[in-house]
């Protein structure tokens, strides 16, 4: 038998006295009730103090609040401190104000509904058990996968905050895609120099260990206790044990050079960038031939990416100003939603760049060995003024599709992460924060989540670093055991739950001796373990509980009996 203390909250008159009297008379007839107290405003520091004293004096082991929304009491507990000696899971709230008084017009019905709700709340209180809190020590060590600008920026920010960083890079050098760029659109410095500076800062920092020509092969464990197996190009393996992991593996460019696109006039943005850097002002030469006109064709492959527009306007300006080239930019929508881009766009137009915004993609054909671009000019007001335009230019810069790295799929499998739109790494609930992944302790940032412009990526890197610092700076991760738990005796190792778990919190381990099968045919001594939920990694969503065919999984804070108790189905 539980001893339950009841607190009736008048909520400053929202639950009127006559109604409360009726409630009290209902309570009198119920078992297990130690006492009931009325308060005018329970969510105030004084009332909470009295509540604590009552609970102590009466030696009750459960408490029920009849009043407003549970959120309200949570807020006041946060504000004034949790006054109750009881475990928080032994306190139940019935929202009489919103769910009876405001929901039901007829007073008699309201009292009846309140009675039912109270009985449920009391059932719930008497059948709940305490849930203990734990904390996990965290060592300040992080693994950053990917040595592009995102990885570099994150590693530096973490190291400056006293966190040990392993920076994993599959190639020989750090820098990634940024090395294909020569100039920023919005900063005066050269990209290469800027990257070199950052890389040399990394090499001078004793907290950062750069592991190049190495890839992640295997990942075990969860937040705080990851075990990452990495393999070098020469085949040697090592195991790292970081507390948190940041994935910043960037994106890849997919070139379509089939058919007409194989023509020598087509080049990519990166090739144009190199061309601009290698040539001496004032004449631009390619394969010994002077380039006088350049067209930029921004296809629909990257309709949701801003980078191409920015690069096109930036390169076009350089071509016009330094090399006296005539430029044409053909696009569907010109993305200028980056700081300073509208001004750049304006400048390019003033210098004579032509912008053609098409609804239907332009037609390409080969005329006298040159590529001709046919497009309708949509800038004319009247239909009859709409001339078809044919553009013959020496070079055509083509936007290539930005796609996820080919190893993204494999990495997802190793890391237990999800892939989202177009196959990039998916952030967790985008409303929480876009750099968090579906697994606690693993973050995704930069181009591997979505290709962005450099300054935006750097902001994202800073935010990711901040997330990691916030997670690790306390030295511990506090959590309570309101999570799913597998009964190893019931578990049939069917592997349903590890596949379903959206947070990759379930693994099959041999941790219970009781569940050992010996299957005929595959030899004796082959042992199975059982599924195990890691309490730190578990979000307590309950999907595995619902799906487990053997009903071997329970939510510790919300077991079936508790749900039945609330539904009055317990007997």
């Amino acid at each position: 038998m539980a001893r339950i203390g009841i607190f009736i909250d008048g909520m400053g008159g929202s639950i009127p006295a006559p109604f409360r009297e009726k409630i009290v008379s209902v309570i009198r007839g119920l078992p297990e009730i130690a006492f009931s107290v009325e308060e005018e405003n329970l969510a105030s520091p004084g009332a909470l103090q009295r509540m604590a004293e009552h609970l102590k004096a009466e030696e009750v082991d459960r408490a029920v609040i009849l009043g407003g929304s549970p959120k309200l009491y949570e807020t006041s507990f946060n504000k004034f401190g949790y006054p109750v000696l009881l475990n928080p899971y032994l306190l139940t709230v019935a929202n009489l104000k919103e769910q009876t008084l405001q929901a039901v017009a007829n007073e008699e019905e309201a009292v009846e509904k309140a009675r039912k709700m109270m009985i449920k709340a009391i059932h719930l209180a008497s059948s709940s058990g305490p849930i203990e809190s734990r904390s996990l020590p965290l060592t300040p060590q992080t693994l950053v996968i990917g040595g592009g600008i995102t990885g570099i920026a994150i590693a530096l920010a973490l190291a400056r905050s006293g966190i040990q960083v392993y920076l994993l890079e599959k190639g020989k050098h750090l820098g990634g895609k940024a090395l294909e760029l020569r100039r920023f659109y919005n900063r005066p410095e050269e990209v290469q120099k800027w990257v070199e500076e950052k890389v040399s800062e990394i090499s001078r920092n004793s907290r950062i260990t750069v592991i190049s020509e190495t890839e992640l092969k295997r990942l075990d464990g969860h937040l705080g206790r990851f075990q990452a197996t990495v393999r070098k190009a020469n085949g040697t393996e090592a195991v790292l044990s970081p507390s948190a992991i940041v994935v910043a593996t960037g994106y890849e460019v997919e070139r379509n050079r089939k058919g007409i696109y194989g023509h020598r006039s087509f080049i990519s943005f990166a090739e144009m960038e190199t061309l601009l850097a290698e040539n001496e002002i004032p004449s631009l030469l390619r394969n010994g031939k002077r380039v006088e006109s350049v067209a930029f064709l921004l296809g629909e492959v990257n309709g949701d990416v801003k980078i191409d527009s920015i690069n096109a306007v930036k390169q076009s300006l350089l071509l016009q100003e330094a090399f006296q080239c005539q430029t044409v930019i053909l696009c569907k929508d010109l993305k200028v939603s980056s700081d300073g881009m509208e001004r750049l766009y304006r400048r390019a137009r003033e210098r004579g760049a032509l912008f053609i915004k098409f609804e239907e993609p332009p037609k390409l054909s080969i005329v006298n060995g040159q590529i001709q671009v046919d497009v309708k000019d949509t800038s004319a007001i009247r239909k009859e003024d709409e001339w078809p335009l044919s553009i013959l230019s020496d070079l055509i810069v083509l936007s290539d599709a930005l796609i996820p790295n080919p190893e993204t799929e494999n990495l997802c499998r190793i890391l237990g992460l999800h892939r989202g739109n177009r196959g990039f790494f998916m952030e967790d609930n985008p409303q929480l924060l876009r750099v968090r992944s579906n697994r606690r302790g693993i973050f995704v940032a930069g181009g591997c989540r979505f290709p962005q412009e450099v300054s935006e990526t750097l902001n994202e890197a800073g935010a990711t670093a901040q997330e990691v610092i916030a997670l690790l700076s306390g030295g511990i991760y506090p959590y309570d055991l309101s999570v799913a738990e597998v009964d190893p005796e019931k578990c049939a190792v069917c592997l349903t739950c590890p596949r379903l778990c959206p947070h990759s919190a379930i693994t099959v381990e041999k941790y219970a001796e009781k569940n050992i099968y010996i299957t005929p045919g595959i030899g004796e001594g082959v042992k199975w373990g059982a599924a195990r939920v890691d309490p730190v990694a578990c979000y307590g969503c309950g999907i595995c509980v619902g799906e487990c065919p053997a009903k071997a999984i329970t939510l510790r804070h919300q077991p079936d009996e508790l749900i039945y108790a609330q539904m009055n189905l317990s007997d």
Partner: protein, 328 residues
């Protein structure tokens, strides 16, 4: 708010000063723009953040408080504050300015008739209508509009009013509003008049495609030149170039929504004077040198949506911590 919360989480004591009576700023005044599923407008995130901050134990908050003076130098500033209760001076090591933005004053674009015609409203007004009144209606007579036109780039990308920048948020904002309206009121048709569709992002392509597929939404690349108003019927006619017909067209609409851009708050001038801040070409705050210990974050450093403001704020929180670490 985000900076304060992040710093507090890492053990830096933070003082949050807000001039208005409530936290949240512009972001907290938006309505949810979900249709059948969430359209990621982040309005609820702002509300959640206010709750987190209010309930969080370790941040001191002063609302209805203004900054009146600044003394001292980098690393050891002394700020003077003034509120209803009186004045106070507080020593701080670093200052983060997140003064935010205002929506553009649409009455400056006189040809659209905002402020003169009742049924010309801003996207912000529409948002408020949906949030506070819970329904869509024409302000003139309260009936449900059958046709709504959204004008983009009102106060952005416009040299005539001196705002030569893209406000970066209004396309997505308007499209989400259209989506939400189309979901709630399927009989209402919407037209979206634009220059370029700007937003980019992981899920934007899908979102835009779903808008394109919706027969009740017309995306028209054309900025209207003028709104005509009939005083008798309160009807509105819009003059614009119709790219499909290839001619100048006039079309009646029941309601016109102006997608207003973002501008720095008017009172930011005094802040700039106080902190000796420079403005960038676009008229927003330029970040001061790192060693001054003054940091700029959020939309007052350049137009940003809620999501990117939060990312920027977290990133700045990281920089602030490094600054403080470097000094101690």
């Amino acid at each position: 708010m985000t900076v304060a919360k992040e710093l507090a989480q890492s053990g830096v004591s933070a003082l949050l000063i807000e001039r208005d009576p409530s936290l949240g700023g512009l972001a907290a005044s938006f309505c949810c723009k979900a249709s059948e599923s969430c359209n990621k407008c982040f309005a609820c995130v702002a509300d959640k953040r206010v709750l987190e901050i209010r309930n969080g134990p370790s941040i001191s908050i002063l609302t209805q408080t203004e900054l009146t003076g600044l003394k001292g130098g980098p690393g050891a500033y002394n700020v003077s504050l003034k509120n209803g209760k009186g004045r106070m001076d507080i020593d701080v090591s670093a200052i983060v300015i997140a003064a935010g933005v205002d929506p553009f004053d649409a009455s400056l674009k006189a040809e659209y008739g905002y402020g003169r015609y009742k049924n010309v409203i801003t996207a912000r007004d529409l948002d408020e209508m949906l949030r506070l009144r819970g329904k869509l209606f024409c302000p003139s007579d309260g009936r449900l509009p059958k046709t709504v036109a959204f004008f983009q780039c009102v106060g952005s990308r416009d040299e005539s009013i001196g705002n030569l920048y893209c406000s970066q948020v209004c396309c997505a904002y308007a499209l989400r509003l259209i989506k939400a309206i189309r979901y709630q009121y399927p009989e209402t048709k919407a037209a979206f008049l634009y220059m370029d569709i700007q937003p980019a992002g992981a899920s934007f392509d899908q979102f835009l495609n779903s808008c394109r597929q919706d027969k009740g939404i017309r995306l028209i690349r054309s900025l209207p030149s003028k709104v005509y108003h009939s005083p008798l019927s309160d009807g509105l006619r819009v003059r614009f170039v119709d790219p499909l017909k290839g001619e100048v067209a006039e079309e009646p609409f029941d309601l016109i929504v102006l997608s207003v851009g973002l501008v720095l708050r008017k009172d930011s001038k005094s802040l700039a004077r106080l902190f000796n801040l420079n403005f960038n070409e676009e008229g927003f705050f330029a970040p001061p040198p790192a060693q001054t210990g003054v940091f700029i974050t959020g939309a007052c450093s350049g137009p940003k949506d809620i999501d990117r403001s939060i990312i920027h704020a977290k990133s700045i929180a990281c920089t602030v911590q490094q600054y403080l670490k470097g000094r101690s």
